[in-house]
Symmetry: C2
Subunit: 441 residues, 2 copies
Amino acid sequence: MNRMTGMIEQRTIEPEQFSEYIGGTIKVHGSIYKIRKMSGFAFVLLRTKREVIQCIYGEEFSKFSLNEIGEEYSVVITANVVKEERSKTGVELQMVDIEVLSKPVAESPIVINNKRVDTSIDNLLNYRPITLRNEKERAIFKIQEGLCQAFREYLSNQKFTEVRTPKIVYAGAEGGANIFQLNYFGKEAYLAQSPQFYKQMMVGVYERVFEIAPVFRAEKHDTSRHLNEYTSVDFEMGYIQNFEDIMQMETAMIQYAMEHLKEIYHYELNLLKVKLPEVEGIPTIRFMEAKELVAKEYKREIKDYDDFEPEEEKLLCEVIKKKTGSEFVFVTHYPTRKRPFYAMEDTEDREVTLSFDLLFRGLEITTGGQRIHDYEMQVAKMKERGMTVELFESYLMMHKYGMPPHGGLGMGLERFTSRLLEQENVRLATLFPRDVNRVTP
Amino acid sequence: MNRMTGMIEQRTIEPEQFSEYIGGTIKVHGSIYKIRKMSGFAFVLLRTKREVIQCIYGEEFSKFSLNEIGEEYSVVITANVVKEERSKTGVELQMVDIEVLSKPVAESPIVINNKRVDTSIDNLLNYRPITLRNEKERAIFKIQEGLCQAFREYLSNQKFTEVRTPKIVYAGAEGGANIFQLNYFGKEAYLAQSPQFYKQMMVGVYERVFEIAPVFRAEKHDTSRHLNEYTSVDFEMGYIQNFEDIMQMETAMIQYAMEHLKEIYHYELNLLKVKLPEVEGIPTIRFMEAKELVAKEYKREIKDYDDFEPEEEKLLCEVIKKKTGSEFVFVTHYPTRKRPFYAMEDTEDREVTLSFDLLFRGLEITTGGQRIHDYEMQVAKMKERGMTVELFESYLMMHKYGMPPHGGLGMGLERFTSRLLEQENVRLATLFPRDVNRVTP
């Protein structure tokens, strides 16, 4: 019987190995990204797993015709490796021979191999399977990968356990109308708006837990900041002394992520010319003070005492940056009536909660806070709000049988990515965005 | 303005630090797991993030009454650290004082602090928020965490890019009736049965991609191996020479995972007495040969020439183990009519596909294979099957504009976990399982 041993033969050479082969001949594979014909020779750009590398076609050393290849062909190239100081890889690849593995049957209707894909956002998204092949487009999602890697690494180092909670649920954590309903074998069920209930339950099990997974919001808002499916970076931690513990943890997690990107993702940071923010210290300001600060600085009238208008979030970030240099700001003590039923109230002022949002470059990217851990307190608050306590029996089980003081947060991964890259629209930081009008590709 | 610096104060001592404090007094926190009263003293087991540690209550050194504490209380303990060779942590913690942070309001209706939770599977799952607090129950999901960590680490080392593809989709990859339908703002949409279409698209972008995320199957089967929501470990790789490349990659990934568990998760492996399988070489056998082998060895008649019956999977694993020593087996060349429309057929025999399943300890845990990358071939096969090609326009975009030869697989994380731990039911390897009858907690 034949056996799989796990030995994977390396048949072609990777870009970081090129310099070991100077003076020799190697095979490299990839998709032909762009052919730039000059007189008597051509530059052939090859898209590999991460880098786009430059090869030279020249009549004196190439044993094939340039007509045999075209853009988006999948090929294996045989090339001479010549030392070349001016190249990023330190070498020049002279194409000797070519093997074509597959060819497109049509030319892309959208030019994808210029510096940027120059088209409308609708086209960019409609043709996602090919527009993502653009080197800058795909770099965005390498950076997003790096953020997730860093968050996981940091939280694991801090002894958080990674959990996987269900996305088909019996009740919404946020309540309200913005929940997708599902026919679940004749029963009513919903798509999870957040892993809130489950991550709290898991605090009773592991004390510290995190999850990076999709959440679903049936919001009809069609704005540059809303997605109907997005990735939520959630953590929840027990034995907190106060809700500042959560903000400290998030600050440290973001600090770690920025260092991780610098270390592992400099190729993409350079390509996209990303300016990473300083995260040495993130200022905090109480919600009402923030409202008043913006009103005063920008001579605006406060219309909504419960929440920020999007314009106010932008202005708040602007004035905080001016006063403190920070591009992040924690806004704390949101009004109780605007926060969910599980939010812990401030014992000194029950009108406000021990909660926070994190704003970054004009946009709210995180919501968090301390939760109620006491059973009686939780049941009383649910009754106050007119909720049917019986429906939440399995949620309340943890409170009933003992829970430590705890809290946590949820961060929108696409929002964070898009502000990090200073994109206009959160869809640009989503591989295949879902909005009110879009469910394809 | 106050600032969050990311500095997280350590207020209590973690178990691995205990030995540094011998002769001193420390604070530790956790939930009281069990109190065992003896004459004149008591053992108090404290559940911390990962370990259950033993503390001693003794009238000569404890400055509080044993009546002040109870099971599932959240506490901070002040303790003298005394050297004790017989203890796992190398020390004995003598409880001096206690601070109670919170208390349950009722006693758990199910005993959770024995070696095993001794109750029906229904009770175990109905009371999940508390039954998971049992030390063996929670160890299961630490091991599952370890598997995911290892898979991600291994695939990242192999230059796979982690992607996040949508779970609300416009068409099912597997087709058929077992798909959940959703009202998406008046449009028809579905819950993804697999990231198949998207991971293939992303091969055109990064060459190698992976995703570990939930998938949804509206199957009405209520068996010990079916879940309606499960975690799929998916990878997809371009520039393969043949479909063996995929099996080699999976073999290496599993080898890496077993080593990772040994290295990082020995606490849980010991607790659950897990026997890790050998993965030095995984035998392969063609589907028809496997059918015939089982028929011959066990004197059975072949009834279904298209697929295995569950009993046959068990018997096949049994005979393969007897003949080769391996607890894994790759079954290859499944019949074309039972594989999806994107499966690559064997050019030597179009009745079979270049596909495989991986069976482990009697259960299919992975399905994979080479995919069709040629546009004309894919369209022809869809037409043969009577599919409406126009509905798959965005899927076929990648084939049209150029795709390398590629393939990949999807592994059921809960199935793998449950076979690794030799559990009877895949629900036992799921935090909050979803089946035909269960959508809570």
